[in-house]
């Protein structure tokens, strides 16, 4: 008898058919992977199981019994727990308060908290999930915050644990620790559903894997009988190249020099601490690091969106900081920027594709006709970009918000690359982008490198950095803790540096 069985789950959001008659089952005491591209319907399915969405049709069976789940309360009562991609924690509460929230055991806190503390210490010992119960959650590293989430589910008596993209915020080493934890849970008879789009995790820890594409299940196999390539093809529906082929880099003249750059946030805390490096023509330099270690601030400072508190940036003989050049002036000097957060900084979601295709370049003479915009030129420019970058659907009048993440990103990339920059700053180029488009974007970036441009790539996807960069700088706590040539780089080496262990640094 399976621990969890779904039969014919169907769900529509307006015109989008998010789940099409999904049926599958997960055995007791197993780790079951659910893999699919962004938008394949994995999260929708899991949210239905946890009662956050309600299915239009279908049946959920837990330990052989049909259960009606219309709220998280119902799911918890049925023994289902979920760890969300974005943690559901109250940041200014203690760990203990977060865990008991909703399961306090009495109207007065004092009685419940005492009992909970004893129970949790036992639970933590059983599963090797030690956390400081009285620490404030916002002061804990993300790895521990995730542990709090797992404890929260177990404390509520979960037998089935859903983890939605659990490694997005973890270093590779933290991820390995998580996998060990999952193995211990499996050994204790718990059922784990691991939802991810990362092939590595599926191969590392699952027993069986279900592949979803466009809301439907397209395959289910035992993990030992499959390969990353086979899974990727099932996810995308055609053969894909997991690694971009590229020749060795031929670095040329230095285009960008960063010297002793320090950036402080609004509260005066230094987020980038005295960073120096150079960028040569014809190379891709990758900045690796766990999210939130200063990479975003560094990128924004280089782009001119943020002001440094110290240091200098030199581009083609100009001193960007001393001269006070803003983002627009920097663009004019050939410093293009694909921001990390596409929807907040890269596009205006409510604008059409053609308007988005000229953002930041709207005042170029090519788009002017007297005091007005030359709409015909704007339209023609957008059509050209759309066909060159395979943006689908190729309709310049459509709102950019209604394009998929991959197609939005392709248009942003087209906009920045078409400006013929000398240096391209690019943040999270494939965040929220499907595998097919990832392949395309990666090939564009390598082509740009081979055309003699300098690229600075910031990504939290270590695989992406390892696959694209010629040189890798690792950031931790606002500093560059190591530099490594891509030929010498392995996931383990870079991962250790990301965790703050200083590298040998062959600069």
């Amino acid at each position: 008898m399976p621990a969890l069985e779904l039969r014919g789950i169907d769900k529509r959001f307006g015109a989008v058919h998010a789940n099409r008659g999904v049926s599958f089952s997960a055995a007791r005491g197993s780790v079951h992977g659910i893999i699919g591209e962004n938008g394949a319907g994995k999260s929708t399915l899991m949210n239905i199981v946890y009662g956050l969405h309600r299915a239009d049709a279908g049946e959920i069976r837990v330990q052989g019994r049909t259960v009606a789940i219309s709220s998280p309360q119902d799911a918890i009562a049925a023994g289902i727990g979920m760890v969300h991609q974005h943690f559901m924690l109250v940041e200014n509460f203690t760990v203990l308060e977060n865990i008991v929230l909703g399961a306090e055991g009495g109207r007065r806190l004092a009685e419940g908290l005492g009992a909970a503390r004893a129970g949790l210490e036992q639970l933590a010992r059983d599963y090797g999930l030690e956390v400081p119960l009285d620490a404030i959650v916002s002061e804990l590293p993300v790895g521990l915050q995730q542990r709090v989430e797992i404890l929260k589910a177990l404390y509520r008596g979960a037998d089935i644990l859903i983890l939605d993209e659990p490694t997005a915020v973890l270093t590779p080493q933290e991820a390995d620790q998580l996998f060990k934890m999952l193995e211990r849970l499996r050994a204790q008879g718990k059922t784990v559903l691991l939802v991810t789009h990362k092939l590595r995790e599926i191969m590392a820890v699952t027993d069986r894997v279900t592949v979803m594409r466009q809301g439907a299940i397209v395959g289910e196999v035992a993990t030992c009988d499959t390969s990353p390539r086979e899974l990727a093809e099932k996810m995308v529906g055609r053969a894909v190249l997991l690694n971009v082929e590229r020749g060795p880099a031929r670095p040329g003249a230095t285009l960008l020099t960063v010297r002793d750059l320090e950036v402080r946030d609004r509260l005066g805390v230094a987020r980038v601490k005295g960073v120096s490096f150079t960028l040569q023509a014809g190379e891709i330099v990758g900045i690796a690091g766990v999210a939130g270690n200063g990479q975003s601030e560094l990128l924004e400072t280089l782009a001119g969106i943020r002001a440094p508190s110290r240091g200098e940036i030199e581009l083609g003989g100009r001193h960007l900081v001393r001269e006070g050049l803003d983002a627009r002036a920097r663009r004019r000097l050939g410093l293009a920027h694909v921001p990390e957060d596409r929807l907040r900084m890269g596009v205006v979601a409510g604008y059409s594709a053609q308007d988005n295709a000229i953002l930041g370049y709207h005042d170029l003479p090519a788009y002017q006709r007297g005091l007005l915009l030359d709409r015909a030129a704007v339209l023609a420019g957008c059509e050209k970009k759309m066909s060159a970058y395979d943006v689908r659907p190729p309709n310049p009048a459509l709102r950019i918000g209604s394009f998929s993440g991959g197609n939005q990103q392709k248009l942003v990339l087209a906009r920045e690359i078409d400006s013929d920059p000398r240096v391209l700053l690019i943040g999270q180029p494939t965040r929220g982008v499907d595998i097919g488009a990832i392949e395309f974007i990666h090939r564009q970036l390598v082509a740009l490198r081979d055309a003699g441009k300098a690229l600075l790539l910031v990504s939290v996807e270590l695989e992406e950095i390892l696959g694209l960069a010629d040189r890798i700088l690792v950031m931790s706590a606002g500093e560059i803790v190591g530099e490594i040539a891509s030929a010498d780089a392995t996931e383990k080496k870079v991962g250790l540096m990301m965790a703050g262990v200083k590298g040998e640094g062959h600069a």
């Binding site: 969405h53 309360q73 109250v90 940041e91 008991v100 399961a103």
Partner: protein, 324 residues
């Protein structure tokens, strides 16, 4: 009058002025801690002031008036919660709408029912108002100035609602920090999604919080029309709802500091009343307009410069959208 007596009387006036502020500020605390902006305090208070004065005038009972004030303010709170929580409307606009609606509705109903130019009848009979309670030996104690006058003026000599407001501070602190409801309330104002996924209904909690806020505004409004004065007059809250909101922010959404802020604002107000027409050394008589503006000037200065970083509940003003 000797200085000592003057100070004691000033402090006694401070307590009287602080009472409706404190009630409204604590009302706002429950609402804002749950994530709903408490901009409707003014309207809920004014509505309660009208309802309680009207019912007290007709029934002859201050207690029935209090009940009516609470019911009226809670009805307005329910409307606010429906707009802000169920319909996920803009909370600032919903709060302002309540304030504007009541500002017009109160005098209009008063005119229709009592025909006294938008007021309610004067509450004159004994049971119609909340009168000062004289504690044992208060009059006798006056004879011994040092502790006696303090006892007679500060401890004794207030009406029931003042004592209720004073008791409400520790009670609120206890509810907020020591009970299950308080834990959930604080959580829902910070991260409603966490509360939802922990298996607690977000909207229900917010309704409860806003209704509590309404009930407390009901007491505050009743105080204004049946204790501090004897009847409802147009715009009698005179911005106290907004001042209470300022005190809440100044008090960083915590019961005791909020109480302190209310007392400070009330003190400047009491001082201003005292200073009217009094010639001060060096400056002479200060024009009354300047004196009346003092509490508000102080508010602006305090909020602008001396509060430090007041960190609001993180989810304040954001309706919780549970994707269906």
């Amino acid at each position: 009058m000797e200085t000592y007596t003057l100070i004691v009387l000033l402090l006694a006036a401070t307590i009287r002025v602080a009472t409706p502020l404190l009630l409204a500020a604590l009302a706002g605390m429950f609402s804002e801690r749950s994530g709903v902006i408490a901009l409707g305090l003014e309207g809920m208070m004014l509505g309660a002031a009208f309802a309680s004065a009207a019912v007290a005038a007709v029934s002859g009972s201050a207690w029935l008036g209090l009940g009516a004030g609470i019911v009226a303010a809670m009805a307005l709170a329910l409307l606010l919660a429906f707009a802000c929580v169920t319909q996920r409307g803009n909370q600032v606009i919903a709060g302002m709408a309540i304030n504007l609606m009541v500002a017009g509705l109160g005098p209009a109903l008063a005119l229709a029912w009592f025909d006294l130019g938008g007021q309610t009848p004067q509450l004159e009979a004994a049971g119609q108002r909340f009168l000062s309670l004289r504690w044992p030996w208060a009059e006798a104690a006056r004879a011994h100035p040092a502790p006696g006058l303090l006892y007679a003026e500060l401890i004794s000599g207030h009406n029931f609602l003042v004592y209720f407001a004073a008791a409400l501070v520790p009670i609120s602190a206890w509810v907020l920090y020591r009970t299950r409801f308080g834990l959930r309330l604080r959580a829902v104002g910070e991260n409603p999604a966490a509360v939802d996924t922990a298996g607690v209904a977000v909207n229900r909690l917010r309704y409860q919080a806003v209704l509590i806020s309404g009930a407390l505004c009901g007491v505050a409004g009743t105080y204004l029309s049946t204790a501090a004065s004897s009847g409802f007059v147009r715009d009698m809250t005179a911005g106290k709802g907004y001042l209470a909101l300022a005190a809440l922010i100044f008090g960083k959404w915590k019961p005791w500091p909020t109480c302190g802020a209310c007392l400070l604002f009330a003190f400047t107000d009491a001082l201003a009343t005292r200073l009217q027409g009094v010639a001060l050394p060096l400056v002479g008589v200060i024009p009354v307009q300047f004196i009346l503006a003092l509490p508000y000037v102080l508010t602006v200065l305090l909020l602008a410069g001396f509060v430090g970083t007041a960190v609001a509940p993180r989810a304040i003003g954001v309706p919780y959208l549970k994707e269906k």
